[in-house]
């Protein structure tokens, strides 16, 4: 029973924790990007490219957590109603 509880908590909480960290990091990256665009508007294309790559790298970490979620979702023990 403890295994089921632990598994359910892991499945439920793993992805949101990853999302928390990634949202913070992406917010910082986007803020830095916007600030640099404001300082130098003619470099917009280069900054946009680096910003998108950085956001995609951070997002891919959340996607790994989503992959774990998808793998574990089928392994949850069945609910027994007593």
């Amino acid at each position: 029973m403890a295994y089921g509880v632990a598994m359910a908590l892991a499945v439920g909480l793993g992805l949101p924790i990853a999302v928390l960290a990634a949202a913070t990091a992406q917010g910082k990256a986007a803020a830095a990007g916007m600030e640099s665009i404001a300082r130098q508007p003619e470099a917009f294309a280069d900054i946009r490219q680096v910003l998108l790559i950085s956001l995609a790298f951070i997002e891919s970490l959340v996607i790994y957590a989503l992959l774990m979620f998808l793998l574990l979702m089928g392994k949850l023990p069945a609910v027994v109603v007593q």
Binding site: A45, Q49, L52, A56, S60, Y64, L67, G74
Partner: protein, 239 residues
């Protein structure tokens, strides 16, 4: 992610003996290949100096891709336009195909994205070895101060091995996850009035479908940018 019987327009292929358990994404990818090939063939026949119509569209697409890739890869970028541009268009159309009812995204399958990532992986290493020679390429992997080679070489090797994994998993999970979200919203929208015994399904999934189209475009763009930077890194080799 078990065996799911997806109803697509290509299910008729299952009638052919030998094709019975084919994944629905595989004939969808054939469809994308044939459709892109037909559009490009029609756009480049009887080419005129001042383009119009389909030739204009094809030339605009090629020129945008060529200039974008040229900015990504400072040396010899335009030469890579056929390979990287085809990769981008193929992935883009495959990602967006799932939005159309009756079709399924081939990239919602890890096999498809892994094969695309492996193509890029092999390209980077073959190009790197061809450019620098075998020993030179290993020296690039070892890093700048040669004393640190026993430390840097495993780090760089693991980085190189992690790249196809991250490319494939990123593309697969983004598209597959979006498909699942849209599917769940369709189910919620269909069942939302069930408690009141109405059978009026609401199209709750429409905003998320727009987001899925946008995600498909962004993921194709990210795949292109990362592949271009990996290939450029293998060519110039400086760390």
């Amino acid at each position: 992610m078990g065996e799911e019987h997806v109803a697509t327009i290509f299910n008729a292929i299952r009638a052919i003996p030998g094709f019975q358990h084919i994944n629905p994404g595989v004939p969808a990818s054939w469809f994308v290949i044939i459709a892109l090939g037909v559009v490009c063939a029609l756009g480049t026949r009887r080419m005129q100096r001042v383009p119009s119509g389909l030739q204009n569209l094809v030339e605009w697409a090629y020129e945008s891709l060529a200039s974008f890739i040229e900015r990504l890869m400072p040396e010899g970028g335009r030469r890579w336009t056929p390979f990287l541009g085809t990769l981008f268009l193929y992935i883009l159309v495959m990602n967006v195909l799932g939005v159309i009812p009756g079709f399924v995204s081939p990239t919602a399958n890890l096999n498809m994205t892994l094969s695309l990532a492996l193509v890029v992986f092999l390209t980077t290493h073959v190009v790197g070895v061809a450019h620098h020679g075998g020993i030179g390429y290993l020296k690039n992997l070892a890093g700048e101060p040669l004393i640190l080679a026993p430390l840097m070489l495993p780090v760089h090797l693991i980085t190189e091995l992690a790249r196809p994994v991250s490319l494939s998993v990123r593309l697969f999970c983004n598209i597959f996850g979006e498909d699942k979200v849209v599917g769940s919203l369709i189910m919620i929208g269909a069942l939302i009035f069930n408690a009141a015994h109405y059978t009026l399904p609401l199209p709750l999934q429409l905003p998320i479908v727009l987001l899925a189209i946008f995600t498909g475009f962004v993921q194709a763009l990210v795949f292109l940018m990362l592949s271009a930077s990996y290939i450029a890194g293998a060519i110039e080799g400086g760390h």
